[in-house]
Symmetry: C2
Subunit: 618 residues, 2 copies
């Protein structure tokens, strides 16, 4: 009983502080925080093992608020743990504060950004994969779920993969408060339905009253004892619990209480408290030892042969695996097309099959990087569009994430447009801080993979299905932000910029134009973002300000737009003058099936069209 009384006091403090911070901010989600307060009071008092003085301690538990809008509750917990001050907690949602409207890892106790619903659990699966299969540490991953977000398909991807990988140290805590933003959720208080779904996906499920502190305690104890499967605790709760005026009432989602209401609520909850909960520290254990890092030995390809860059991705990833023990790989059930299977066969213990579940593919990768691994996640480039929200959020998580998309553009041929990535460059350029690479050659691909592994942040590499001639020697170097001038002479009349498959078309155009006495400069813009502004400027100047850009991508948002933007000014850089004369060749019409050459030509991005565009500029 002593425990129960204490937990109750902690829970009331969490409620009071959730009200105080949101009323101070005049925005935020007090009622969604109040429903989960009892669950969190017991968790932090008796189960969570976390060293707040050392957020990077390897054996720390992980607490992820998948329902990120309950951030005031999370911040109240941090205050109760003594990790942040009351004063800082009250800076909620203020400009410049770490206490943002939704959790972000600007705070060292936050693993990943949440706030786009349905992402915390998939990421938690990734952390739990790290714990069970790589770190081999007994930490738990506690994921607080809202009931509205249980409608997200990504949640069920997480359920199926967690079941499949038997992640018994993963615990989902479903704060089933019945009310979503605009009314009742699909399932309301039908806890049996959630439990049945969880069980059908291979989980343990426990249904409790989420305000019964004893029952909460029992549920956590059972969850910790479960083996062989993750656990979902379905906790029936009341939105706004603890303040009768709002309890279980619609219309109180995302609304702070006005000052007078807040005063009544706090008084009814027993007033302000400043309890400090002694959160247990984890056992001081280290992750499973890794082999020593080795120098990267890139695979090599002989000029004169033809090799697809996707093949080089597979070879290069395997080489990275040998060099860097922190590199892990994931794939969306297409590893025999992306060639991630080369890594999977060489390092099966560091490869995680994610099946056809691209949101989980990225979610797992983000989870793995929480624990310091460097994840390379691959699928067809087109199918990363399935996970764009996860990639967007990964940028807010400041994640160290490597993505590889194969089968870019119309040049894949017969499979048709559903399998062709024609928007991936646009999509990936518009990710904060991203690197976007599109190599033209297998030696280059392998070298760039090592650059990706070294670079901290989100980096994307686009590979080509078809074999293309080897252009570069195995000893050449390539860098993020670089480019390569592959043909040049003093008399160049026009600059042609390509990347990937279109660079090879540009080289064919070069040969043809040379035969007609027209010299062009050809640039391999393998780093689409950042783009090599200096080289483009120099080439424009040398070729009379005439540029043709050619890409196997929709004309919007890809390489063409990146080249144009290199000639615009921005906040940091004044434009060097008027734009050059740029012709953008890209895909305008919906392609169908056909042979790669037929489709490149029909799309207007083959050598013939480059030749015509060059002549039109002269």
């Amino acid at each position: 009983m002593a425990n129960i009384d204490y937990w109750h006091e902690v829970a009331q403090q969490l409620r009071v502080d959730s009200i105080r911070s949101t009323t101070a901010a005049a925005s935020g989600h007090p009622t969604s925080s109040m429903s989960g307060a009892d669950l969190m009071a017991v968790l932090m008092s008796a189960y969570l093992r976390y060293d707040f003085a050392n957020p990077k301690a390897p054996n720390n538990d992980h607490l992820i608020f998948s329902k990120g809008h309950a951030a005031p509750l999370l911040y109240a917990m941090y205050k109760a743990a003594g990790a942040i001050s009351d004063a800082e907690m009250l800076t909620l949602r203020q400009f410049g504060s770490r206490i943002e409207g939704h959790p972000v890892p600007v705070l060292p106790y936050v693993d990943v950004a949440t706030g786009s619903l349905g992402q915390g659990l998939p990421i938690g699966v990734g952390v739990a994969l790290a714990g069970k299969y790589l770190d081999k540490l007994p930490y738990h991953v506690w994921v607080v779920l809202g009931d509205s977000e249980m409608a997200e398909g990504s949640i069920w991807e997480a359920f199926e993969l967690a079941g499949h990988y038997q992640l018994d140290h993963l615990v989902g805590i479903l704060d089933m408060n019945r009310l979503g933003q605009r009314g009742e959720t699909m399932l309301g208080w039908n806890g049996d339905a959630y439990a049945a779904r969880a069980r059908a996906f291979g989980w343990h499920a426990i249904e409790i009253d989420g305000h019964d502190l004893g029952a909460i305690n029992d549920a956590y104890a059972k969850a910790e004892q479960n083996t062989g499967a993750p656990t979902l605790i379905v906790a029936k709760t009341v939105k706004g619990k603890g303040f009768a005026e709002v309890e279980n009432q619609p219309g109180w989602h995302g609304k702070p209480f006005p000052a007078d209401m807040a005063q009544r609520a706090i008084a009814g909850l027993g007033g302000e408290r400043n309890l400090i909960v002694q959160v247990q520290k984890p056992d001081d254990r280290q992750p499973a030892p890794r082999p020593d890092a080795q120098p990267f030995k890139a695979p090599t390809y002989e000029p004169g042969t033809s090799v697809a860059t996707r093949t080089a991705y597979g070879d290069g990833l395997k080489a990275l695996g040998a060099a860097r023990p922190e590199v892990v790989a994931l794939d969306g059930e297409v590893s025999n097309s992306t060639y991630a299977e080369y890594f999977a066969k060489a390092y099966p213990e560091r490869f995680f099959e994610q099946y056809i579940a691209e949101q989980q593919l990225v979610g797992s990768a983000v989870g793995l990087q929480v624990r310091g691994y460097v994840p390379f996640a691959s699928t067809f480039a087109a199918f990363f569009s399935r996970a764009y929200d996860f990639i967007r959020m990964a940028a807010i998580s400041r994640a160290n994430l490597k993505l590889s998309g194969s089968h870019a553009g119309v040049s894949i041929g017969e499979d048709g447009p559903s399998q062709m990535a024609l928007e991936d460059l646009a999509m990936m350029r518009a990710v904060h801080g991203s690197v976007v690479l599109y190599p033209s050659d297998p030696n280059q691909t392998a070298r760039l993979l090592n650059e990706m592994a070294t670079h901290r942040g989100i980096a994307y590499i686009r590979t080509t299905r078809e074999k293309t001639p080897v252009l570069y020697g195995a000893d050449e170097t390539f860098s993020i932000g670089g480019s390569r001038v592959v043909r040049q002479s003093d008399g160049d009349k026009v600059t042609v910029v390509g990347a990937g498959i279109t660079l090879h078309e540009a080289l064919k155009a070069y040969d043809q134009l040379k035969g007609e006495g027209i010299a062009i400069r050809v640039i391999d813009a393998y780093s689409v973002k950042p783009i090599d502004t200096a080289t483009l400027h120099a080439a424009a100047q040398a070729t009379g300000g005439r540029i043709v850009v050619v890409e196997d991508h929709w004309v919007e948002g890809g390489l063409g737009d990146a080249v144009l933007a290199a000639f615009a000014g921005d906040e940091a850089r004044a434009a060097s003058g008027p734009l050059p004369t740029v012709t953008k060749l890209g895909v305008h019409e919906m392609p169908g099936s056909g042979k790669p050459d037929e489709l490149l030509d029909a799309a207007g991005i083959s050598a013939r069209h480059i030749v015509a565009a060059v002549k039109a500029l002269l």
Copy 2:
């Protein structure tokens, strides 16, 4: 028995033809077609009701191959139905053929493009919603599912919504052949697991041997009799069934048989056949009558007041509902933020709540437009990134789809970056044939909604959370591809291009610069795609080739890139004379929480920054 024998012959023909077409194409998926042949033989012979002479007949059943890679089987069915010739079937995957690698609605019998797995069922849900709630016709929606795609979260969004809406005329046919592209699926032949999952999501489930023609017949009969819930038929099948050399063997996904193998296979299957199956026609019934269309009466807003464009979206959508009976609306459980709730309250029978399941939100919309409805689907603009693959595929489906994204940019304020759309313009520009609108004013928003409803294709409107001043009169007109010059004089020195919230910052900058004696031209580029090239060219010429573009979006892929692209290309140059010097202002750094004004300023897109950029150009 006579039936069984006939169905067997049909099934063998479907197998033989799947082999013939893929061997002729030298690519494609024969084994994935052969596993489903018995299921399809019985379906087309005894259950499907479809008038191939009249693919638009309102009471036709709908057959959707969610496993789009089994397209050879679908085409074999079309041949067996007499809808296409054997010769056309054999043009599979050839350039210019309608018989593409994956189904596309270039063929009139195909409702929607498939091939990105996990989309056919969500779209089928939309068709079934139309059937049950709008058309009120007894047609069935048959969706053929692969087992690999059951891992997609979007499948479970479809399951939950179909259960919730009790879509008893929706039947999922799971061709559980155990083998995915690179090996065994997550669940292999564990049919009980699929059935348990389906039941937990509110479906009937029937497990059968998918090669037992009598059992297949019984299952369809039961599915047709089921009421109150959709049905999943879990059919255990063998990949490559009918050709012992490949049956249940790995390594045969997406691989045609070489000529000698094909010959052996066809011989073993009893050789070529040319049976014509008499597919039953549906009863000649018409959809529930709709009220007559009325002229659109836009809501009006008074200059001098301030109204958020998202509010105008709600008002305008309601007005569209009054004017156009074919307009329907859907929302992802945020209708009290997007203001789709105004429509929902006025026309509840035409509103479909999709909960927090954005893939299903778009999938349902695509399904509804299959039946001729004009769907407006809304959520926070950031969360459409969750459904990007569905939007991409909707373009391949040639869908008539309207999307509305609210809460654009940093100007939403306190909620922080997880809720801010900063990539939606880039994402939506890179959709084939899309229209992208970003109004600055509520009267304009309402008018543009009517333009969206009239336009056939994918159109996206981006709305702003914050109230902004009314700029335009209620009688002004706006068009797709248009723009509005809102400030101009003869002595303009610089053109400033904005849209949405930044147009208002540009107007503040105008006032400030005017006070300093610097005249600027201000353009409201409310149509981001297509962009008003002619007006931009004229403005550039009139203002000495100096342009500042300012947007509440990442600097990549949005309005800035659209303006730059207006000055690239042959046509653009022919019209424009000298090329301009362009400064792009957009969001460069990860925002946090704060007040809208603080965040606009911190992002470098407030009036102050526009003023500085203008001066830097002079």
